[in-house]
Amino acid sequence: MSGIYTLGIDVGSTASKCIILKDGQEIVAKSLIDVGAGTSGPQRAIEAVLENAGMKKEDMTYTLATGYGRTSLMEGVADKQMSELSCHAKGAAFLFPNVHTVIDIGGQDVKVLHIDNGAMTNFQMNDKCAAGTGRFLDVMARVLEVKVEDLGRLGAMSTKKVGISSTCTVFAESEVISQLAMGTDKCDIIDGIHRSVAHRVTGLAHRIGIVPDVVMTGGVAQNSGVVNALQEELGCPIKTSPLTQYNGALGAAVMAWQAASRRK
């Protein structure tokens, strides 16, 4: 087996993701387990990615952990840990070399990163409030009795604007329940939720300044409703990738390769 193989592990608050990269360029395998920090998720994700690649942990020249649970892997699993901020920047730069702004909406964090020459030089994050995060959308999907992955499709069928004004997840939940009680169409409510998320994230993005190309990463980037609402609010196109959920792990694998190259 020739080449340098590096493993990037992103232990988020709601999911664990892994990427194996060959020579810092080619994605060999990936895995995703739907539970994150403090669970069996990270270990299962590592086992799955190695199985998908047909490789062993010993074949990995360098392993780098990121995400909320990154430090838990520093005992015997990872060679190094870095914040998810830098890893998302690196992952986005790998997928979109001209990126200057990354908007990442994860399970409990919203980040806006400014990138120069592939490295993060400044950033903004949400405060402790979970509004506008993936968890916010999970809660709303549950109340609306729909699958979170269907939100984008259902929101696109909206015919009327409905405002969801509360910034607090708990109060927004009550607001959605009131709308349902009034007989408002679910699709209209979902569209209102998407615009509410976009509005909140836009406020954060404007603090740091929007410089194209703008890339959106994280699980919520799979929701076309949020992406479209954000494009409308920001007034510029947003790029996404099918690998969006793996972006942090990808960045970690790229950084692992850079570290391995320096170590040679």
Partner: protein, 479 residues
């Protein structure tokens, strides 16, 4: 080996201890003791030999001693909303007589020890000793503390004299911030914060004491105009009359001039101490400045404060000559820390900074309290400028000045839930710092006194992100 404390730091500690001791003794003699906002002109009170205590410093001390949450909740129980400043909530609860007290057995009088407190006992090899009966680490009894509960000073005062009353009084936490006498008057200047006005009105009403108020409106220009100076000067004159009525004494010009001379001398020495942070590596951590704030606020008109800061400057000069620093880690990055620290969470605040070699080499307090003047009008102009009474241009100018002088690589901003005016304009300030200085900024959520508003894991990620951005920035500049 115990950490060496410099003569200057020891002198500064004594100055604050004496401020507290003098107030307690004055109260015991039946003399008036006042409470004052941190940037009320202390020179006026000094002209009447009045003992004055400072609720902001008191609240910071109470919060740093981990009593912030109990006191904040006590204020909330009184009806104060938890959106109100944590310092104000602690102070209002205290004014109402609320005290943190040590729980004791009513029959034996012995304190009841909280088993969850204390440090683990270690054997000669440094290993933690496990209690075989419980399977948990044995605790060093010397480090264990009693359970805490809330008591009320006015309830205790209403008790008949006797050992029971004395025992309950003694059980009040021994920290000096829990032993501050109740106020006989309050001095409020809202230059430091607009919440101050209602906070002090409430204390005055609660304790039925006179309020002497100096109103300083927000200044939307960099310069302080002559009309503004006249407005404040007239209030100084009125405050003097009110103090004359309160004390039954005439305003003593000589004592006032002496207090002004001391305050100016303290300010100059304070600025000199602050300027030592310009050295690379800095001879101390900027967090130490926060500790010395107590002296600048509570004792700047005392000659002992001026002398103590001058001694500290001498100590720092020696430290520089020896090429040493009191920062307990090698300085790799230098940052400005914006805002008041999260006092209840200082170890958590410091941990990732230490782990990443981040030294705080700039804080905005240096220019905010280092003001010098020559007469009453200049004094009015000086007191017009405080962190929350100046326009954003002045605020940015102050901060960017110390960022440049103290050579920082980044800015760490505390979005302080207690201080809406301060935190409110930080988003725009952050944008300007990055645009003007080309350095990254990171913000984190927290609170100066209420520990419920801080999350260590989120803070650590933001600090690590800032470090990684500073590193990328430094490498880009070098390239």
């Amino acid at each position: 080996m115990a950490k060496q404390v410099s003569p200057g730091v020891l002198a500064l500690r004594k100055v604050v201890d004496d401020v507290h001791k003098d107030a307690r003794e004055a109260k015991a003699r039946g003399e008036l003791v006042g409470w004052s906002s941190s940037k009320f002109p202390c020179e006026l009170a000094a002209a009447f030999d009045l003992n004055v205590m400072y609720p902001e410093n008191q609240a910071a001390g109470i919060a740093a001693n981990r009593y912030g949450e109990m006191m904040c909740q006590a204020a909330e129980d009184l009806g104060y909303d938890n959106d109100i400043c944590g310092y104000a909530r602690i102070s209002l609860a205290y004014a109402k007589g609320v005290r943190v007290s040590r729980k004791y057995d009513k029959e034996t009088g012995e304190y009841i020890i909280d088993p969850s407190t204390g440090k683990p006992l270690k054997d000669a090899d440094g290993n933690v000793i496990i209690d075989e009966a419980t399977g948990k680490p044995k605790k060093d009894p010397k480090t264990q503390t009693p359970y805490l509960e809330l008591d009320n000073l006015y309830d205790i005062m209403a008790m008949p004299d006797g050992p029971e009353k004395d025992r309950r009084m003694e059980a009040i936490s021994p920290i000096r911030q829990m032993r501050i006498p109740q106020p006989d008057f309050v001095l409020c200047c809202n230059n430091i914060c607009n919440c101050m006005t209602k906070w002090y009105e409430n204390i005055a009403r609660m304790c039925n004491v006179p309020l002497i108020m100096v109103d300083i409106p927000y200044n939307n220009t960099v310069e302080v105009h002559d009309e503004n100076v006249k407005y404040v000067r007239a209030q100084f004159d009125k405050a003097i009359k009110q103090l004359e009525e309160l004390t039954g004494k005439k305003f003593d010009e000589k004592k006032f001039e002496k207090a002004c001379a001391n305050a100016n001398r303290t300010a100059k020495a304070w600025l000199k101490v602050c300027d030592y942070l310009q050295y690379k590596p800095a001879p101390y951590s900027g967090f130490d400045l926060f500790n010395h704030m107590a002296d600048v606020v509570t004792a700047r008109a005392r000659v002992e404060a001026a002398e103590a800061f001058e001694q500290l400057a001498v100590d720092l000069e020696e430290t520089i000559q020896k090429g040493e620093t009191t920062t307990p880690f090698p300085e790799k990055y230098r940052v400005m820390f914006e805002g008041i620290p999260c006092w209840p969470k200082l170890p958590a605040l410091f941990k990732p900074l230490k782990a990443n070699g981040v030294n705080v080499t700039a804080v905005v307090y240096a220019p905010a309290f280092g003001f010098v003047y020559n007469n009453m009008d200049e004094m009015a102009r000086a007191y017009y400028k405080a962190p929350n009474s100046v326009c954003i241009e002045q605020g940015v100018d102050w901060r960017e000045g110390i960022c440049r002088d103290n050579k920082v690589d980044g800015v760490l901003v505390h979005y302080n839930r207690s201080c809406k005016p301060w935190s409110g304009y930080m988003a725009e300030m952050q944008r300007r710092f990055t645009a003007d200085l080309g350095i990254p900024c990171a913000g984190f959520d927290g609170d100066q006194a209420d520990p419920r508003n801080f999350n260590a894991a989120q803070y650590e990620t933001r600090v690590q992100g800032l470090v990684e951005a500073m590193e990328a920035n430094i490498q880009a500049k070098e390239a």
